[in-house]
């Protein structure tokens, strides 16, 4: 088991023939992901790394039975691509694109809710990987090992850093998922925690948060009320100045809200241990799992 993706996941890559799309299609194939189709309007009939390319997600789904999509399209086309995936009946769409206007995402979320059963991960997400089974996104597969730790994070590379330490220390992962650094995202901490709680393979969850918003505080409440499995956390941005956006559109302390201090306290209040530096997460995991 794992969450959201496994060995049976059939992936279509939207924007497969572009630079990034082509590169990561190859990476996903090399990792063992069942990439069944690529989509680039006007390039139907071509192949990319052996994968057939279609003009539309609809055609790709009809021909290949793809159920999961990942976008490598410029951000101004990302909303249309998500909508296209949803309309074609894709159940999970991973949006890597960064820089999508927040209002557009609010509209997409409302539209998905009104008109489809599609779950979106991202935007501004590195995607997810269920080690040994499938990866959908840009997470480097070589640093991951299959195991029982679920990892969920608002960040990309910080997640790799943490997973790298976990793998080195012998703690493989059930699924590692980056939910994205934007203020409005398709799948939040609580959604993922609920999935990890229900996943028999996952024994412990590592949650990596950062400044901005109150998602970590709500996650803490959820952990207290609904989680039986242990959770450990790390929060980035303790030294970030207030009022400044730290890269991620969502990473900003505004009106005195969303500080790392508040989030760390919220976790400690519900007995979720928080590592002071990334490499020490391993120590917390070790303590819980042995």
């Amino acid at each position: 088991m794992s969450i959201l993706i496994d060995g049976k996941t059939k992936v279509v890559v939207q924007g497969a023939t572009g630079r990034d799309g082509s590169f990561h299609t190859k990476q996903m194939l090399d990792y063992g992901t069942d990439v069944v189709a690529g989509v680039t309007p006007g390039k139907a009939g071509e192949r990319i790394h052996g994968v057939p390319v279609f003009n539309s997600v609809e055609d790709a789904v009809n021909e290949t039975g793809a159920d999961t999509s990942i976008l490598f399209v410029p951000h101004r086309f990302a909303v249309d691509a998500v909508n296209e995936a949803a309309a074609a009946g894709i159940s999970l769409v991973v949006c890597v694109s960064e820089g999508i206007p927040i209002l557009d995402m609010a509209r997409v979320m409302k539209d998905l809710k009104n008109n489809s059963a599609t779950r979106m991960i991202g935007p501004n997400s590195p995607g997810l990987i269920s080690p040994g089974k499938s990866k959908v996104g840009i997470i480097p597969g070589q640093i991951m090992d299959q195991g029982n730790v679920g990892v969920v994070s608002r960040s990309g590379t910080l997640t790799y850093e943490v997973a790298h330490h976990l793998s080195h220390a012998g703690f493989g992962q059930s699924t590692v998922i980056g939910i994205g650094g934007d203020p409005i995202i398709g799948t939040g901490f609580i959604d993922v925690l609920r999935l990890f709680e229900a996943d028999p393979e996952t024994e412990l969850v590592v949650l990596i948060g950062e400044i901005g918003g109150t998602d970590e505080e709500e996650a803490a409440r959820f952990i207290k009320e609904k989680m039986s499995k242990p959770v450990v956390a790390f929060i980035a941005g303790q030294t970030a100045p207030p009022g400044r956006r730290m890269g991620h559109a969502g990473a900003i302390v505004s009106g005195g809200k969303g500080t790392a201090k508040e989030k760390i306290e919220a976790f400690r209040d519900v007995n979720v241990e928080v590592a002071d530096i990334p490499s020490r997460i391993v120590d917390l995991v070790k303590a819980k799992l042995s």
Partner: protein, 382 residues
Amino acid sequence: MNIHEYQAKEIFRKHGIPVPWGEVAETPEQAKKLAADFGKPVVVKAQVHAGGRGKAGGVKLAAGAEEAETAAGKILGMEIKGLTVRKVLVTEAMDIAAEIYVGVLMDRKLGGPLFMVSAAGGIDIEQVARETPEKIHKFAVDPLRGLRSFEARNLAFRVMPDADSAKAAAKIFPCLYQAFADSDASLAEINPLIVTKDGEVWAIDAKMNIDDNGLDRRPEIAALRDADAEAPEEGEARNSELSYVKLDGNVGCVVNGAGLAMATMDLIKHHGGDPANFLDIGGSSSPEKVTTAMRIIYADKNVKSILFNIFGGITRCDDVARGIVEAVKGSPPPIPIVVRLTGTNEEEGRKILGKTDLIPAATMDEAVQKAVELAETPGGTA
């Protein structure tokens, strides 16, 4: 991005919101002339990206042209929360019978726009939210259809003092929502919306913050950026699609990914150092971005060491390595550079860096410790 009150008012005006007369002055003489031409009492208001202007003395009533000149003289050049006032808005002074708060912001928890009104207008709304939250009426706008007439009416009847002003306000609220949506704003606020003694309704203050992600498709809004309000390197970084925030420390950092960049800053602090900046070169990085990043950091004279912390996913380590080599080409780097490269195309990246003077590090902890040490050793090498 923040914009000034006078800019937000211009956007409001275009969207049909009644905004009183006003013009911008950059000198006391200009303010005097504007007030004289207008011929009625005015308010002189500091245009600066900071709240609490009133309390700081940045808003003054002037009965006539002389008073306007004096007021502008006091306000221009004033520092409010560390920012120097370079412009004032000279605007009509109005009789206020009632003041209402009206605002719309992008609410993360809700996942969409939240419209808010309160009869407690004219004062700090965050204070109202903290102390008497029941005085704020909130409404989740469906971003697919905007604020509808009946929704606006329902809100207006809750806060306006009488039926006529409620009907007038109900026409203004959808305009405010539209101004918000059409500008890709993260916040649009009228505080206060006033009712005059004659029953007229006017927006006498205006605040808008813009979602940076929306600026690409709103060039007319992007053009409102006040270059005086940010460090020049921040503008250069933005033009190269780098996220850069200048800080006061001496360890320059170049990181890919915002979360890792923040964690790197935190770790520098943890190891007793002080980060000179936040800098995220982002995904899909090109060598050009890396060279720009280095140029920006070299320009910061406080920086004593540079730390590259790269964990390749969509960013390829070989691209970063090529960028570094390009930037130090010809002359040895003026300050020590510690490089940690892991992830996609890691081997290729290491090969490219192999023949340079750069200081390699295997882990983030090691890299940070080395960079902090080097920053504290004048002219030294680790």
